[in-house]
Amino acid sequence: MSESDALIDVQQWPVFEWPQSIKRPRLLDELRRLTDLHYGACEQYGTLLDKMLGRNTANELEELPFLPVRLFKHERLLSVPAADVVKTMTSSGTSGQSVSQIFLDKQTAALQVKVLSRIMGDFFGRQRLPLLVIDCRATVADRYRFSARTAGILGFSMFGREIEYALDDDMSFNEERVRRFVEKYPDQDILVFGFTFIVWRHLVQILEAERKVLPLDRGVLIHGGGWKQLQSQAVGASEFKRRLQSVAQIRRVHNYYGMVEQTGSIFMECEAGYLHTSARIDPIAVSGSAQLSWPFAIE
């Protein structure tokens, strides 16, 4: 299959419906195609395969050469001319000082948007809802430097209309603005998006301290990104949901797990509390003396 055919094909894949027996061979074919593509286009990746991981002979997903995401912290990994880079995603990760850099060209950026929109559509319908972002506008001010937070907010902004930010640029909660926003949409669902630790620190804890309750009972919260710098204050999912409901009346809460290295292909939590893998991504447990697992993505 030519590259353009392959790209058209992959966009027609369903979001979740495929059984493993169909998904695995399709993923394998596509990942082998991509492995070859990057082998030829990215010098360091080519060297890594030649010297250590071997060429593309995988008959199973498990045999594919896998690339640890930490390498993005140490190497500038590019498969397109530098001039074609339209976005640079950065992430400090959870440990260490060095920053990951992930370079996107136009096509990859568009594919990421597409897959995210299909996952979102599957969960929340195609209709765009009013969106309340639990963050400040300054976080998305520079459109060329993308942190995980910027990417998350901008990515999810596409599923909202009438976007409002709950926090001022100094990260303080602007109650008046939020109340005005909620009153504007009395009879419909409102999408609420934020990073887990931001929602916790700048919404839940603030409202608790001020003994206030927001009437966000029509809100659907999507949160991700974990606790990062707030690891010491991390609470479990049930406590998070319980306390969020008591201060904001939000009952519908979906956590998601995503990686800045593969923005778009997120794992979304369902009503039953499970994270779902889409057709384009599959976590693999590789056995050794210890079990390691990592997600593959093709977007």
């Binding site: 890594l48 010297k51 250590m52 690339l67 390498l71 190497e75 003396s289 390691l292």
Partner: protein
């Protein structure tokens, strides 16, 4: 209280002779006053912080040797301690017979040798048991020891602290409570500055950064330093000698190499990082085919890395593949053993490191190509099938700035009183001339 004296030369075999000598009664000057803000910032695990004295004893003091020998006995009788190879290696080193042997080796001259006073030890986290060796070296040199343990807990540290604490509370060793203190504190300028300002001997383990940091602290004009910065260690093997081994002997060799490589997660300064095959390429390939599957087998049954360590190892290997032009290939024997094949060695060889069973390999005709790359960073050269006398000649002939230890494979981690180029007792004590 008794102290040891060394029998003068010429009275037959040099042996230790013990005589009762009464110790000078304590005066205010010898107890180190520790300000309350200092003592409140640190955790004292063993010893009495309000009694710490800086009065030295003679080297190989009888009471201290008895304490260390008893510590050895207690550890070897301790069920959990016996399960920890590093604790056993210390206990074995610290047994009475070995201490007597070390004391005898020094006894010949008959000179009077006294400690410096107080020694302050910063101990490493990568090899937890080294604190115990450091403590023993400090005590045998005649110093009061204040030992800062790594903040990271480990079974080795927990058990050692428990046993030492119990032993110090026994009647026979009560006086040592003012001469030995084990403490723990997070890196803290104020505390480090205090201890550096009262220390007569500074023993700093833990790499270049720690050594640099400690050197930035003001210290006493007469104080001495024994520093253990980052080192690089290698092993040299004659492939023909490996090919000549019987299966049993091969297994014995592999067990020794396995211990050198894996016991400290390959993170000790004497853990081998580079294996040099000294011989023909063809023989080297045959020898590898005999040696490595056996190492992998040993590692599979005896080495249990954590998931995060396997990931680190994998990432590091990828980085070596991507950034070092001399890497020909990286072969992975499951997750247990990674071999990084090099086309040659370079001046930057000492950054080619790996942990948890990652060995760099190169085949050379002779040791000569190593000459230009051996800097003062090189510590241990372990060998198999090579003649140590020739290695000795090699070091002299080429006037090498590095390599402080040449020992057979299997002894890489054997800590002793001569280490990193120091004879530590001499480094931490004074010769007193009495004419």
């Amino acid at each position: 209280m008794s102290a040891s004296t060394i029998a003068p030369a010429g009275e037959g075999e040099p042996t230790l002779r013990y005589t009762g000598v009464s110790k000078t009664p304590r005066r205010g000057g010898v107890v180190i006053p520790i300000p309350s803000d200092i003592s409140s910032m640190m955790q004292t695990l063993v010893g009495e912080s309000d009694q710490i004295s800086n009065s030295p004893t003679t080297v190989f003091n009888t009471e201290r040797m008895a304490f260390l020998a008893e510590l050895s006995r207690k550890l070897l009788a301790h069920q959990e301690a016996r399960a920890l190879p590093d604790v056993v290696s210390f206990a074995y080193w610290s047994r009475r017979a070995n201490l007597m042997r070390l004391a005898d080796r020094l006894a010949g001259t008959g000179a009077l040798r006294m400690g410096l006073g107080l020694s302050f030890h910063i101990c490493p986290a990568n090899v937890p048991i080294n604190f115990a060796f450091s403590m023993a070296f400090g005590l045998l040199s005649g110093n009061t020891c204040v030992i800062r343990l790594p903040t990271k807990h480990s079974p080795t540290l927990d058990i050692m602290v428990e046993v030492i604490d119990k032993l110090l509370k026994e009647k026979s060793y009560l006086s040592l409570a003012s001469e030995l203190m084990l403490v723990r504190f997070d890196r803290n300028d104020k505390l480090s500055r205090f201890w550096m300002s009262v220390a007569d001997g500074r023993i700093v383990w833990g790499g270049d950064a720690t050594v640099d940091y400690m050197r930035g602290m003001p210290c006493r004009p007469r104080s001495r330093e024994v520093a253990f910065p980052d080192r690089y260690s290698i092993t040299a093997v004659d492939p023909d000698a490996v090919l000549a081994l019987s299966n049993d002997d091969l297994q014995a060799l592999c067990l020794r190499l396995f211990n050198d490589m894996y016991l400290m997660d390959q993170a000790a300064c004497s853990s081998p990082q580079l294996l040099v095959w000294v011989g023909e390429l063809g023989e080297a390939e045959e020898a590898k085919a005999r040696l490595w599957p056996e190492i992998e087998r040993l590692a599979t049954s005896r080495y249990m890395p954590q998931a995060v360590q396997i990931m680190d190892k994998y990432v590091q290997a990828c980085r070596h593949a991507m950034s070092n032009d001399q890497v020909i290939s990286i072969e992975r024997h499951s997750n247990q053993l990674y071999r990084i094949e090099l086309s040659g060695v370079s001046e930057r060889q000492d950054v080619c490191r790996g942990y948890y069973g990652t060995i760099h390999e190169v085949t050379l005709d002779t040791l000569e190509p190593l000459v230009p790359i051996i800097t003062e960073k090189y510590q241990t050269l372990t060998y198999f099938g090579l003649d140590p006398a020739q290695i000795r000649e090699f070091i002299i002939k080429h006037r090498l700035r590095g390599i402080d230890r040449v020992v057979p494979i299997g002894k890489a981690l054997d800590m002793d009183i001569v280490w990193d180029g120091y004879e530590i007792i001499s480094a931490l004590s004074r010769y007193v001339v009495v004419d």
